[in-house]
Symmetry: C2
Subunit: 325 residues, 2 copies
Amino acid sequence: MLPVLSVSLRSKSAMAQAQSDPLPSWNDGATKASILDFVARVTTQNGPYFVPVDQRIATFDNDGTLWIEQPMYIQLAFALDRVKAMAPMNPEWKTKQPFAAVLDNDLKALAASGEKGLVEIIAVTHAGMTTAEFEKIVTDWLATARDRRFKRPYTELVYQPMLELLAYLRANGFKTFIVSGGGIEFMRPWTERIYGIPPEQVVGSSIKTRFEIKDGAPTLFRLPDINFIDDKAGKPIGINEHIGRRPIAAFGNSDGDLEMLQWTTLGASGARFGLIVHHTDAEREYAYDRDSHFGKLDVALDAAAVNKWAVVDMKKDWKRIFAFD
Amino acid sequence: MLPVLSVSLRSKSAMAQAQSDPLPSWNDGATKASILDFVARVTTQNGPYFVPVDQRIATFDNDGTLWIEQPMYIQLAFALDRVKAMAPMNPEWKTKQPFAAVLDNDLKALAASGEKGLVEIIAVTHAGMTTAEFEKIVTDWLATARDRRFKRPYTELVYQPMLELLAYLRANGFKTFIVSGGGIEFMRPWTERIYGIPPEQVVGSSIKTRFEIKDGAPTLFRLPDINFIDDKAGKPIGINEHIGRRPIAAFGNSDGDLEMLQWTTLGASGARFGLIVHHTDAEREYAYDRDSHFGKLDVALDAAAVNKWAVVDMKKDWKRIFAFD
């Protein structure tokens, strides 16, 4: 056989294998099998578990489920960076908490400022501009900010196996949504490019806005008042408000996702799928659960066992974590 | 020519004509031409006004734009019917306003109870049950309730030209949304069947809900507290919250739609389209505008002239109003 033909045949065979395995970054095992089995059930026409395409709704948490959330939520890193960027125009922050703590990189003092301090930081960094201005601030920040450990843009710190899962579900007629405790406007500028999820399929926390016409151009001005917290029991409420029907599959990683998984899987007829991503790989990513400050997974981990939700053991179930691995 | 062949040829020709005219219930004229022209512009690849498919967002008001709103909003007719249906279990309503007014068909006394009375009626008829229970109540009511004038189910009192417009936009890659002052949960049970618009593309007013697990089954319980009013300046806010990008086309019929049309058409680059349905046909439907109690069209009619929004003259522009005409 000519070498060139041999190469061509080998790459064709690799292609065929990739086509036959829609989740190439997942190791074979019970978790992967449970996903494939669920999708086969709900897409088998005339089967007992068939679900029409328009009802194939799948919801995904974002932080810790689709991208990293350690050593702190990426949106918090954004807020702290914004405080530093805005400091020259706010000289009084040098001696005023919680801002002084941020400027001094004093995370202990920052923690001491508690939720009240955090709300103040969110207010000055997330409100006081139009929605269009905020979108530009987020986009510009993401283009330059780098994670300290991985030295990468945050939008590269997304889990390759989950990207494959999103694509696999969509290829099988699912409509994929993000349902995150994070800010809805913080996610929308990039979710379509990174996850293939358009703005109208992003559900998240939000602040209030005010409609104004300025110099003939209509704007929405972001106000320092909470509109909705899309976390814990807020997730089913946000899902109902935005989607208007119950998902048949939900994917999360923390106690904040418990009620979303309950709303998706419990007391419903037909096939339902719940999955928890368990961070068990300190070497390639992070290992944390019941005691973590960000993405605490405790009650939902026990509920997974009771309710037969799949639990991803990242170390064991994922061949690679990131696309660059 | 054999008669059967002649018939066959004629019906083929009629089919061809219908295929070539995507808006057969619209009379030829400036309004229809402006719609066709806009769609041609934004779908012409390499043209100066081309808009990628994912940005082809079109928003439609519901009451008075897609279905009738006279002699009162259909959702108000629903609420009044519900008071009557619930009266046997609430004997005290016989002497208690605003309920006595409803039971006596005393619209004058009902009007005298003002917004406070209306809020009380909405609270008892729209809250105090789960979202699933409310969906069933709405569905059952729509199956049996009839409009007094047309003696038809309300879901037949939808405007045939607008159904054609929805289908035409979707055939050209648009994603169509409802953005209505009406209750989001009042619309979702039937918008997919009647308009081809799925629940996740319906934006509307809402009340608060509470997540509960009852006997192992998760529910959302409807509370008598306003969550969001999707009217006037609320419409751009609702659009931003649910859709996350500005529409390129918006369709309304009253002052409640003014800000939605402004948000869609003003201060934006590229082709934008705004349209107002003007109710001018007392014979086939209703004629009303500046002085109407429901669907008042005053400021937005003046704004249409200034901003070059299309204005449908229902009497002149629509060949027929309803499918049964």
